[in-house]
Each structure stands twice: as C-alpha cells, then as structure tokens.
C-alpha cells in the first residue's frame, strides 16, 4: 500500500528519471526526443493520449526557450503540477549540463594539443553547417509572402550593418506581426499568418 505522499514522490522520481534518460538524446535541441517522449508517455505508461501529446508539443514549440526544456516542463506540470515541472526540467537539464561541463574541462586540459585544435577546426565547420540547416528550415517555413521576406532581409541587414541589440529585434517582431495583420485586415487584404500546407505535411514548430 502506497500512501499519497510516497506515490507523489514516486511520480516525481519517475518524471525526473524519464527525462534524465531522454536528455542526452536531445542532440542539437528538441526534435530528436519527440518520438522518445511519445513512447514513454503514450505507449508505455499511458499517461495521456496521442492528441493531447501533440497539442502539448506544439505549445512547447511556441513558448520561448529550447523545445526540449519546454516540453518536459509542460508534461511535468500536466502530471505533477509545479513540483512535477521542476523535476522534469531538472531531469532534462542535468545530463547535458554534466556532459557540457566535462567537455569543457577536457577541452581546457588539452587545448594546446595541435590535434585537438585541428579537430575543433573541423567541428567548427560542421557547426556552421548545422546553423545553416536551421536557417534553411526556418526560412522555408517562415518566408512565404512579401512582408516576411522583407522583414527577414531587413533584420539581417540591421544586424550586419549596425550593432543593434538582437533582443530589440525580437520585440519589434512581436509588435510588427500584430500591426501588419491588423492593417491587412482593415484594408480588406487576404490574411495568412502561416504558410499554406499540403494535405499531410507535418506542422513543425520546432527547429534544430
């Protein structure tokens, strides 16, 4: 027989442990872990159905922050309120924190080795590629009319040519979107806030 308190503690421990296991698989951020989370929460433990899961995931993609952290906080809150959200977030953050920390210590020990420096030059190239992939995927999804293309080009030009604080741009983006859509509605222009999609194309709100 479990008392309420021990079963609650057990739930928190389970949440922590599930995300602790999934954490290291979140390579480059969230999207790799989505199928794993679904397997644990929907198939194995039957804590929620697939529809609720996909609603939570799309919410996780639109809140600020890494989609992995957001998803774990959502699921944790859904099952165990605030302590659940804390346990899940700690679970997903801790393993990557430890890995990054160890890599950093390793790097500072061997940074003078020419072969370690050479390896890092190669990795530097790969990270350029990874960032370009993220830009490409985001652009494919985000740039679908004249306003969005001009906004993207304008923000890039501002960043390259002036020392503008990027955080200001984010704030501008929030206001701009709302203003342009209202203006278009007032002028009676057709309004699309998202790119038109094919019938069975997946909606991806999360990026690498």
């Amino acid at each position: 027989m479990h008392t309420d308190k021990t079963s609650k503690a057990y739930l928190l421990l389970q949440l922590f442990w599930i995300f602790f296991k999934i954490g290291p698989a979140t390579f480059g951020g969230g999207y790799a872990m989505m199928p794993m989370i679904e397997k644990e929460f929907v198939d194995k433990r039957k804590w929620m159905d697939r529809q609720e899961m996909s609603d939570l995931m799309s919410l996780a993609g639109s809140a600020p922050g890494g989609v992995g952290v957001n998803a774990s906080a959502f699921l944790g809150y859904r099952l165990g309120k605030i302590p659940g959200a804390l346990a899940a977030t700690l679970g997903i953050t801790l393993p990557t924190f430890i890995i990054v920390f160890l890599l950093s210590v390793f790097y500072s020990m061997f940074r003078e080795e020419p072969k370690v420096q050479a390896a890092f030059k190669g990795i530097h190239g790969a990270v350029i590629g990874l960032i370009a992939v993220a830009a490409f995927k985001m652009g494919k999804n985000a740039l679908f009319d004249r306003t969005t293309v001009i906004t993207a080009a304008g923000s890039l030009a501002l960043l390259l040519l002036t020392g503008l604080n990027p955080m200001v741009l984010i704030a501008v983006g929030l206001v701009l979107g709302i203003t342009v859509i209202r203006l278009k509605k007032r002028l009676g222009l057709p309004v699309h806030t998202e790119r038109a999609r094919q019938e069975n194309e997946p909606v991806i709100e999360y990026y690498i």
Binding site: F27, F101, G125, A134, A135, M138, M167
Partner: protein, 178 residues
C-alpha cells in the same frame, strides 16, 4: 556581482529565446561583448563545443560561458538563468492559457517573429563562418572550414545524415586536414 550579471543576462535571453537554439547565439554574443566576458576567438570555440554537445545550443552556451567566467558556480548560475524563464512561462501557459495556439494574437505575433528569427539565424551562420573579416580571410584553412560547413549542410538536408554522424566526420576531417 559577476554572478548577478551572469544570471540577469541569461534570464533576459531566456525570456526572448523564441525559436529555440540558434537564433539565440547573436543575443548571447551581444551580452558577452557588452560585459567583455570572452574574446571573439573564445566565443567561437564556446559555440563549437555547445554545438557538438547534446541539448539545446543556447543552454549549453550558457553553461560554458558561466564556467569560463566564474567556474562551476557560474555555470550553474548561467544555466539556471536561461532555463528559468522557459519554466515560468510554460507553467503559466499550462495553468491559464491552454488553448493559446489558436489565439489570433499569438498567430499574428508569430507571423512577425518567424522572419526575424530567420534573420537572426542567418546572421549567426555568417558571423560564425567569418569571425574576423580582416584576419586571414584568404588563408586556406578558412576555405577548408567553410567547405566542411557546406558539406555538412548538404549531408544533412539532402542525404538526411544524423547531426552526430556529421560532427564525428568533420572532427576526423579536421584532424586529417589541419
């Protein structure tokens, strides 16, 4: 004082880090430059390590920058700073605005946010590819690094290779080439 600065900087970044990872790099770079925490070269290496590790690149960068400026306690402070806003906002959404995504206000603000996030990521790629335009741009290693970048891009988008495979290959290529 340093801990407080680290915490506040990453807290601000955390609140505005829409679009997850790479769009946040220019924001982190801006804060690092303002406070003089790392040199450009150190920042480049930091982002490389953050990019090759599992987990979101933004959180990883926070951990690394915190560690380099103030040791283990700094790493914990910076990581907590960048994760806390997500946690707070997610709890608020989960508790009050469950149907938020269908809201027209949210839809219109994302209409403006997405292209700006695209601009930020492109800027991050350019800045990461050409850290100091004045310094050795015609050096062969700069071209070799960019070539690895192009190959990585093609490998992932066209041949659907896993990012880990690409990073391991480029690591080997680096050891052989440089």
């Amino acid at each position: 004082m340093l801990f407080w600065q680290l915490f506040v900087s990453f807290l601000k970044i955390g609140f505005l880090s829409f679009g997850g990872g790479y769009a946040v790099i220019p924001m982190i770079q801006y804060e690092v430059k303002q406070h003089g925490w790392l040199s450009t070269g150190e920042f480049q290496r930091t982002v490389s390590i953050a990019g090759m590790s599992p987990g979101p690149i933004a959180t990883n960068s926070a951990t690394l920058i915190g560690y380099q400026t103030a040791g283990l306690a700094g790493a914990v402070t910076a990581t907590a700073g960048i994760v806390l806003p997500s946690l707070l906002i997610v709890i608020l959404i989960a508790a009050f605005f469950y149907r938020m995504n269908a809201n027209p206000w949210v839809k219109s603000s994302f209409y403006g946010l997405r292209p700006i996030i695209t601009g930020l990521i492109v800027y991050a790629a350019i800045h990461f590819g050409f850290p100091n335009p004045s310094e050795a741009i015609y050096h062969w290693t700069t071209f070799a690094t960019l070539l690895i970048g192009v190959l990585a891009f093609v490998a992932i988008t066209r041949y659907k290779l896993h990012p880990v495979t690409v990073i391991v290959c480029s690591c080997v290529a680096g050891i052989v080439l440089f």
